[in-house]
Symmetry: C3
Subunit: 174 residues, 3 copies
């Protein structure tokens, strides 16, 4: 069973001013698709905090899904945090999410959601709205599953720079 | 009324060897769509000069539209200048412009036009040809309007890194 | 006649454990489309080595096509090497390759193949599978031809930063 972590990025949810609907919706969709959800965490829109959370989550979960913080507001920094902690960006997955969103609303063009790998984990940004999050996740789940299989099957090579990182204590999985 | 600035990036127009047709065409389209055009400026394809112009324009205009300098020539550096002065890139708008352009010509794939935010302003690159510029702008105007509304409604938070920048003298709006 | 170089990036082909099928297939397609293929080279998935090979190839060939190393494995670093040696990225060509690939398989979303310019040369990543490589190349050949014509016609301006690079010994063409 593939392990997944869900991270809701939202100032208002973090302060308890709004209920987190997107995080649980994403978690439910992941469970329905055979993932074991390690946990839901809510963090404010603070880049350093988001980065730390993504790093910690990627140590235990092969798939780390965030929801929120992908828009144009000065506080929306989830993509920036994601780029900072990823080894490789997978632009094609971001493109598919936007293309699928555009079928529903032209404003999907404003989502800056990214996807990338950190070690053997995949980090996937989803928009903050429950509907946008679920639509985006649904659009890429088959490809994400394939990506995770590829990442999991990968033999760890000790001479490779990325696998070297994977052998670091910081990246150790339980 | 939303304020817009138009910046034509072209060595030949700057040197007066060619008349600037794209800039006025873009300005006319903006006015027809309810923008107040603050001014048209023509700059040569010099990256530092383009950056300074985009920065200055974004201090007074919510929308800054450039035309030209998005191709493959060594002198085409508008996207590089744009990336340098933006806080956030909005890849989805660049994708839509290219997708729309591809309906007219496969060579639209060679446009490297970008879109991003600087403070509360949106900076949008358009191709240099009058037809390409107007096609690209038309393709994204509804989304651009929505993005500007989002950016304008944004409460400035003094604890946020981006809003901090906004409070800088450099970013002050009249 | 436009000169092209083909670079196969593959650990297993480099070690002779697998026959290089993609490189010759790409070379054949290029010849069939009127290119003169300067040579086929096979390199392992080592970023520095790939970068050196792309740089050397771009000194003599207007088009440098790589195949392989565009996936998610820790060893897949062709896009990273390509970005490092390019002056400008041409995102639209990468988008077209992925869009064309998606018509055959959703997993084309996982290709991280890039395209960019170095001096007056175009560097194009293709996926490692023979079918993926040929499909991607076929999808962009007309646009690539146009891009090369643009790059070849470009007058070298001695005051421009990029042309300055072109006059460097390092960039000299025979």
């Amino acid at each position: 069973m593939i392990r997944a972590a869900v991270v809701t990025v939202s100032d208002t949810c973090f302060r308890g001013e709004k209920e987190d609907v997107s995080g649980p919706a994403v978690a439910e969709m992941l469970r329905a698709n055979g993932f074991r959800v390690d946990g839901l965490r809510v963090v404010p829109d603070e880049q350093t905090l988001i980065e730390e959370t993504l790093i910690a989550a990627s140590k235990v979960s092969q798939l780390v899904v965030s929801t929120g913080g992908t828009g144009l507001s000065p506080r929306d920094v989830t993509p920036e945090a994601t780029r900072n902690v990823c080894d490789k960006m997978v632009d094609g997955i971001a493109e598919i999410m936007r293309a699928e969103g555009l079928k529903q609303t032209p404003y999907a063009a404003l989502s800056r959601a990214l996807c990338g790998t950190r070690g053997k984990s995949l980090i996937l940004n989803l928009p903050g709205s429950p509907r946008g999050a679920v639509t985006s996740l649904g659009a890429v789940l088959p490809v994400v599953g394939h990506a995770l299989a590829l990442l999991a099957d990968m033999p760890v090579r000790h001479d490779a720079p990325d696998s070297a990182k994977l052998n670091d204590k910081e990246f150790e999985r339980p």
